[in-house]
């Protein structure tokens, strides 16, 4: 068990190493990525350019640069941005995490509740008009590009009907810290939450419905029914509980990816200064230290989510535990 755990962790590290190397190499393969001229300033003399390149270590061999950067990222933790000179990337990423967490947690509440309701109602009323309507709505939710939905939401709430009674409460785009104003935090995030959750409500509702329908046809459900247990209790106690395995697995992976910066588009559209926005900004300016930090951060969450789901699976799923 321990050996397996260690080897699994080793593989995680390997994947993260691979990702950082790829990001690093891509940066240096990009023409115009050399930040020296941008750092040195417009119309800098060639001497200044050389000096700056030397100061930033950009004249050293790539493996050395990579090693130094990793050393400064993980050990001395004082790696600074190429663009906003002096901005330490580690604290910057750490400061962006609460924003992303706020966004993803809130959206997750929406989508778990929404997904459960849609899935259970549709599964219970299989074949009815209600089921069909919910499934079409879910599919529509799944089919809307999130950034477009966000833009439309902004158009409506920030401009077109901002002055109407309906949306006059909507604050300007941006994040308000929970510690500053809980009510402001809620108001600033409720539209982004809903925007981000739309896709997942559809997704989870559909998966849950399918899983419930499948489970309800299994033997132990029939046994439960035969015992005279009410249909609703069969659904909730047995059908739902079994279906939740798939639900939880999906949730773990999605949550990990989103916390890792997968909510990039939502953050950009709503001006939320989270990890996704940070990644976006770093890419726009080709800020290598920041790119590396956010990429490693993101991959950590994705890989970690995979790992947690695998481990959790052993505990949730009775079949996996038996080890047949």
């Amino acid at each position: 068990m321990l050996v397996a755990l260690v080897s699994r962790l080793g593989q995680m590290l390997l994947v993260m190493f691979g990702i950082s190397v790829v990001a690093f190499l891509i940066f240096f393969a990009t023409p115009g990525a050399d930040p020296s001229a941008r750092i040195a300033g417009r119309n800098a003399s060639q001497e200044t350019l050389v000096q700056v390149r030397h100061d930033f270590g950009l004249d050293r061999p790539l493996p050395v640069q990579y090693g130094l950067m990793m050393e400064r990222l993980f050990i001395s933790r004082d790696l600074t941005s190429f663009v906003n000179r002096g901005q330490k990337v580690v604290p910057t990423v750490l400061e962006a995490i609460p924003v992303t967490l706020s966004l993803v947690f809130g959206a997750a509440v929406f989508w778990v509740l929404g997904g459960l309701i849609v899935g259970v109602v549709a599964g219970a009323t299989r074949g009815s008009w209600l089921d069909r309507t919910l499934m079409i709505l879910s599919l529509i939710g799944v089919s809307i590009p999130v950034f477009w939905l966000g833009e439309v939401a902004n158009l409506i709430t920030q401009s077109r009907w901002h002055d109407s009674w309906l949306f006059s409460w909507v604050p300007p785009l941006g994040y308000i810290a929970l510690t500053d104003s809980p009510w402001g935090w809620f108001k600033a995030l409720v539209i982004p939450w809903f925007t981000l959750a739309t896709l997942y409500i559809g997704l989870y509702g559909r998966v849950l419905r399918a899983s419930i329908i499948e489970t309800m046809q299994e033997d132990f459900i029939r046994t439960a029914r035969a015992k005279g247990i009410g249909e609703r209790r069969v659904l909730i106690n047995h059908g739902l509980r079994t279906s939740l395995v798939a639900f939880v697995t999906m949730f773990g992976l999605d949550f990990g990816a989103l916390v890792g910066g997968g909510a990039l588009l939502t953050e950009v559209v709503f001006g939320l200064q989270g990890v996704g926005k940070l990644t976006y900004g770093a890419l726009q300016t080709l800020d290598l230290p920041m790119i590396l930090a956010t990429v490693i951060y993101a991959s950590f969450f994705v890989v970690m989510a995979n790992f947690v789901v695998d481990v959790a699976f052993v505990f949730i799923d009775p079949r996996a535990r038996d080890g047949h």
Binding site: Q51, R85, G86, L173
Partner: protein
């Protein structure tokens, strides 16, 4: 310089007929504002380090003028006298000595840095050494005329500027010695790169850590990801209203991260007071009508232009470059920028009202002083004569709305001339260095140039001299790779003449402007104007031709 992030100050006083379209926002004369309140400013993104010796962006120059002082500075007024250099930390403007090679400044007494320490002559010497020691961006181009600068550029760490900058502490004077007379010296040391910092300032880019200054405000905190917070400097006492007046707001919060669209909405809704970035095109109509009272428009000494690589086909043929100039409908491009009230068609290098500017436009239907209409027939004839039709051309633009749409328009023009054209937008953060490097083989691109210092040399010599063309380097601002020995010689003559006889120099520069325009290494498109959107509660919006909005002089109600 380019507009967006990087721009440097406009150094000299030129009669800028301030075309103030807006109702006078400059505040009812005589009405005094009450100090207090918090100004909320917005920008898309932070502009990098806050080290005044390193940061080279308009965004922070504007702040650094109220945070720091040089020995001299530009007068902080909202009219054209704002271009004039006045004494700041120095008691008075020094007279040039030794034929323009020596300046002696006497320091004012009783000035303190925001950290409480006193300003001394040692701080001045240390500040000038520091900008070399930390490889300041302009050290090799603006300050290389100081004696000893050449050694400092080679070995920055041990920079002393010996013989160049010397202090006499007892007399409270600092003496500057130049290698050669420089008529623009005072202007050059008026920008924040020559700000006087405490001698103990760190000998490296201070990054996000504020350095103490002498201005009425100081930086309280800086997070490039969200907020730059500026508060009053408790040690500031006004010593010269024209150089560094006391400010009104108690606090200035500069927020980062909103898109242009969101920022416009926020200012319109009164949730913020001002935005740095130009408002997006589709909001201009609404700004000009519903929010007209909150808008002001000011001409800039700048140009949007299309550099053509004079060393690559087909633009290595002057006829092709001229043909492009003839074919471009500049009024159409002006539409893309927001219309005639936001830009003025132009075909020469120097912007209107610039020193040595004489209206000149050879590339128009009726050649003369002004551009009127494109001359497609002439353009086609020139292309036919060059025999280059059918070649492939790639236009490199920034991935911004305006740059991209101008690129697409230019693509149509070039296609109309018979070329096979494609457009490639590149991230605006990379495009400027990308198009400079000859290794990238850029044929034609879209770029902008904002004046660096108010002399014709800043446009003509910087952009078109052989010296500013370095093949294979990301820093080769002569994007066209234009190198004409005769014109180069003329520029040197003009610069030399200006020292002794400014009028004679100006005349020579006018000739150079015409010569470069005729050689058509670029297609000048238009002269842009700046548009400022402010909240209704913000009063006394003073727009200096030098600093743009003087933030410290506005108050909120």
């Amino acid at each position: 310089m380019r507009s967006r992030k990087v721009f440097s100050a406009m150094l000299a006083g030129v009669g800028l007929a301030g075309l103030m379209l807006a109702a006078s926002l400059t505040g009812a004369a005589g009405q005094e504002g009450k100090p207090g309140g918090t100004l909320k400013l917005l920008a898309n993104a932070a502009a990098g380090t806050i080290d005044p010796h390193i940061n080279y962006t308009l965004q922070y120059f504007q702040l650094n003028y109220i945070l720091y002082d040089g020995l001299v500075t530009f007068r902080k007024t909202g009219d054209k006298t704002g271009f004039e250099v006045v004494a700041d930390l120095a008691e008075s403007l020094p007279k040039p000595e030794d034929g323009g090679k020596k300046y002696v400044f006497k320091l004012r007494k009783g000035i303190k840095f925001s950290d409480g320490s006193d300003l001394t002559t040692a701080d001045v010497v240390a500040s000038f050494q520091r900008m070399f020691k930390i490889s300041g961006p302009t050290t090799g181009t603006l300050y290389n005329g100081i004696v000893g600068a050449d050694i400092c550029l080679k070995t920055p760490a041990s920079c002393t500027l010996e013989g160049g900058v010397t202090a006499d502490e007892a007399a409270s004077t600092v003496t500057f010695n130049l290698v050669a007379p420089d008529p623009d010296f005072l202007q050059k040391i008026s920008i924040p790169h020559a700000a006087i910092l405490p001698a103990g300032a760190p000998l490296k880019d201070s990054g996000t850590v504020p350095i103490a200054g002498t201005g009425p405000y100081m930086i309280a905190s800086y997070d490039p990801n969200s907020l730059l917070k500026i508060v009053r400097n408790p040690h500031f006492k006004e010593w010269s209203k024209e150089a560094q007046p006391a400010g009104y707001p108690d606090e200035i919060d500069y927020g980062f991260g909103l898109t242009d669209e969101a920022a416009v909405t926020a200012v319109e809704n009164g949730q913020a007071d001002w935005m740095f970035d130009p408002p997006p095109a589709d909001r201009l109509a609404e700004l000009g009508t519903i929010y007209a009272k909150q808008v002001s428009v000011h001409p800039l000494t700048a140009m949007w232009y299309a550099p053509m690589n004079t060393n690559l086909a087909p633009f290595n043929d002057i006829r092709v470059r001229q043909a492009v100039n003839y074919a471009i409908d500049r009024s159409a491009i002006v539409k893309l920028f927001g219309g005639a009230n936001l830009a003025q068609p132009s075909c020469q290098i120097l912007p209107p009202d610039f020193p040595s500017y004489a209206p000149y436009c050879p590339f128009t239907a009726n050649p003369g002083a002004k551009w009127s209409a494109p001359d497609l027939e002439k353009a086609k004839a020139l292309v036919a004569a060059s025999g280059t039709a059918g070649q492939e051309v790639t236009i490199i633009t920034e991935d911004t709305e305006v740059s991209k749409s101008i690129g697409v328009y230019l693509q149509d023009v070039l296609n109309g001339l018979g070329y096979k054209t494609s457009v490639k937008p590149i991230s605006q953060n990379l495009q400027f260095t990308y198009i400079q490097n000859t290794n990238n083989k850029v044929q034609i691109s879209i770029s902008q140039w904002f004046q660096d210092y108010p002399a014709p040399s800043d446009f003509l010599q910087v952009l078109f001299s052989c010296a500013s063309f370095t093949p294979g380097s990301d820093a080769s601002v002569n994007i066209s790779g234009f190198c004409d020995k005769a014109i180069d010689q003329k520029m040197v003559e003009a610069q030399a003449a200006a020292v002794a006889d400014p009028a004679k120099g100006a005349e020579l520069w006018t000739a150079v402007d015409k010569a470069v325009t005729d050689a058509a290494p670029v297609a000048v498109l238009f002269t842009p104007k700046r548009i400022d959107l402010i909240s209704p509660r913000l009063k006394n919006f003073v727009f200096s031709p030098q600093f743009y909005w003087i933030i410290s002089q506005s108050w909120v109600e």
